[in-house]
């Protein structure tokens, strides 16, 4: 079985927020919900200051803290490594939100929030409620575009290679800073990048073994 993962080349990332917007658009995410974000920071002191740009998303950790603490079994780790939430089982206790050291989960508390308050839902929001219905009172997070991967595989496509089987953020990145593929397949591009380019994970001290890696050259 594959273990889907992502590599992000920080040297290529230009901090355009394209991935963040693509994710919002792909899943019709309501206001204030972000499954991917771009963190911007600085290091050093004037005059030698460096800008640090880190796109972040759920790491689909191999030893996911969120899955371990979930009391209902709503947080599930699929065989292919993707961590998903079964909205029908979630009680909204937010223990997983606390447990994720990367803060990649959000409580979806109010499904009446509109992008244009007081003016009703836009057509786009209405479509989203049909295509990707979230449940008020449950927790939501990035799915690694599991639906694209699953549908693509059914059609014989290869995630990370064929656009229709690849996460939206990877497709949208204009700098081609994101790579997606099977971490367990030594032939895959991302497995090669991880082994050859000194890839690192965020927060290794948490012992979660993220499936999202970063490279800086």
């Amino acid at each position: 079985m594959a273990r889907w993962g992502m590599v992000i080349n920080l040297n290529k990332c230009i901090g355009c927020y394209g991935c963040m917007v693509a994710c919002k658009q792909e899943h019709y995410l309501p206001p204030k919900i972000f499954w991917g974000r771009v963190l911007v920071s600085e290091a050093g002191k004037f005059p030698s200051v460096k800008k640090l740009i880190y796109p972040v998303l759920c790491n689909h950790c191999k030893d996911a803290a969120c899955v371990n603490v979930c009391p209902t079994g709503a947080s599930i780790k699929r065989e292919d490594g993707i961590v998903i939430i079964d909205y029908d089982k979630c009680v909204g206790c937010r223990y997983c939100v606390m447990a994720c050291p990367y803060q990649q989960r959000t409580f979806y508390g109010d499904d009446s929030t509109q992008y244009f308050p007081g003016q009703g839902f836009t057509e786009w929001e209405m479509i989203g409620k049909e295509l990707f219905p979230l449940q008020e009172g449950t927790v939501v997070k990035c799915t690694f575009c599991a639906e694209r991967i699953d549908a693509g595989i059914k059609r014989g496509l290869k995630p990370g290679v064929d656009r229709n089987a690849t996460p939206a953020c990877v497709n949208a990145c204009p700098a081609k800073a994101r790579y997606f593929g099977d971490l367990d397949d030594p032939e895959s591009e991302i497995a090669r990048l991880v082994s050859e380019r000194k890839a690192f994970q965020l927060g290794p001290e948490f012992g979660t073994n993220p499936s999202v890696y970063y490279i800086i050259r």
Binding site: A43, V56, V69, V91, V97, Y108, F200
Partner: protein, 288 residues
């Protein structure tokens, strides 16, 4: 509130367990542990009123508030399926069993029927209820303020101390001198343990990561200073210490009840600070 562009770039506080509806969870943990603590201490003094008050606080207030906090409250029965990895699951099991068996034990006690097996079982369960909240928090390694073995111990000390306070209140109301002396010893011992544990905890956390230091500095000299110094230290610890030195015999009942109120306020304040100033470390590595 953390600014959008500082989110996980700087130390970021948890909000779900203390802001908006999170306030309910803060109160729920407090009443659940206080109630179970009162049941636990009350059991040692065979005090049916203390056990009854404890059961009500734990079940009605604590359980009720916890229920209201959930995003999907009517699915609460699902929360018991992962006891092997989740402290919330274990806690739900402890609380449910405690409420069920505790109720039976109290009703039997009301009719002067005693069952030692049931009594021992409910004492053990009440203790487990007192400790589970601390364990649920201390296993969260993203928040250094919580991720310490001292946290469950402090929660045990404060839960039992509050419980002993309630039992003391019952003893005062009943005018039972023998019970008063016994419970007073518990209260003093737990008060001293609580003070030592709290300050050891705060000092030890301050040697941790940047998020740990930020938490402590926010509590002691930042936005939480007045809750810490006024509510926790002066009201919650100072007044009970003075009462301890005076001794309950010479103190009027009204003052004793006031002291109990101060003690509970201090405990609430401490729990608020621990939840409110639980910070996550920034995500961006320092060396890139």
């Amino acid at each position: 509130m953390v600014k959008a562009y500082d989110w996980m770039v700087k130390c970021t506080p948890q909000t779900e367990w203390i802001e908006h509806k999170g306030i309910l969870l803060w109160l729920a943990f407090f009443f659940i542990e206080l109630g179970a603590g009162a049941y636990f201490v009350g059991s040692f003094f065979n005090s049916l009123p203390a056990k009854g008050i404890g059961w009500l606080l734990c079940g009605l207030l604590g359980g009720g508030l916890h229920f209201l906090y959930l995003g999907r409250p009517f699915r609460f029965y699902r929360m018991v399926v992962r006891p092997q990895t989740s402290w919330i699951s274990r806690g739900m099991i402890f609380v449910s069993l405690f409420l069920l068996l505790g109720f039976i034990n109290i009703v039997l006690g009301f009719f002067s029927i005693t069952s030692s097996i049931l009594s021992v079982l409910t004492i053990v369960l009440s203790f487990l209820v007192v400790i589970y909240g601390g364990f649920a928090m201390c296993c969260i390694n993203g928040i250094p303020l919580w991720n310490t073995a001292l946290l469950p111990i402090i929660y045990v000390a404060s839960g039992l101390w509050g419980g002993a306070g309630i039992t003391l209140g019952v003893a005062v109301a009943k005018g039972s001198a023998q019970m008063l002396t016994g419970v007073e010893e518990w209260v003093h011992l737990l008060l001293i343990s609580f003070i030592i544990l709290l300050f050891t905890y705060l000092i030890s956390i301050n040697y941790g990561t940047i998020a740990a230091k930020t938490s402590i500095s926010e509590i002691i000299k930042g936005k939480g200073w007045y809750i810490f110094w006024i509510v926790v230290v002066i009201i919650g610890i100072g007044i009970p210490v003075i009462a301890m030195m005076t001794g309950s015999r010479s103190t009027p009942a009204a003052i004793l009840y006031l002291t109990l109120l101060c003690e509970l306020l201090g405990d609430l304040g401490m729990r608020y600070l621990i939840l409110k100033y639980g910070f996550y470390n920034p995500l961006i590595p320092k060396t890139t």
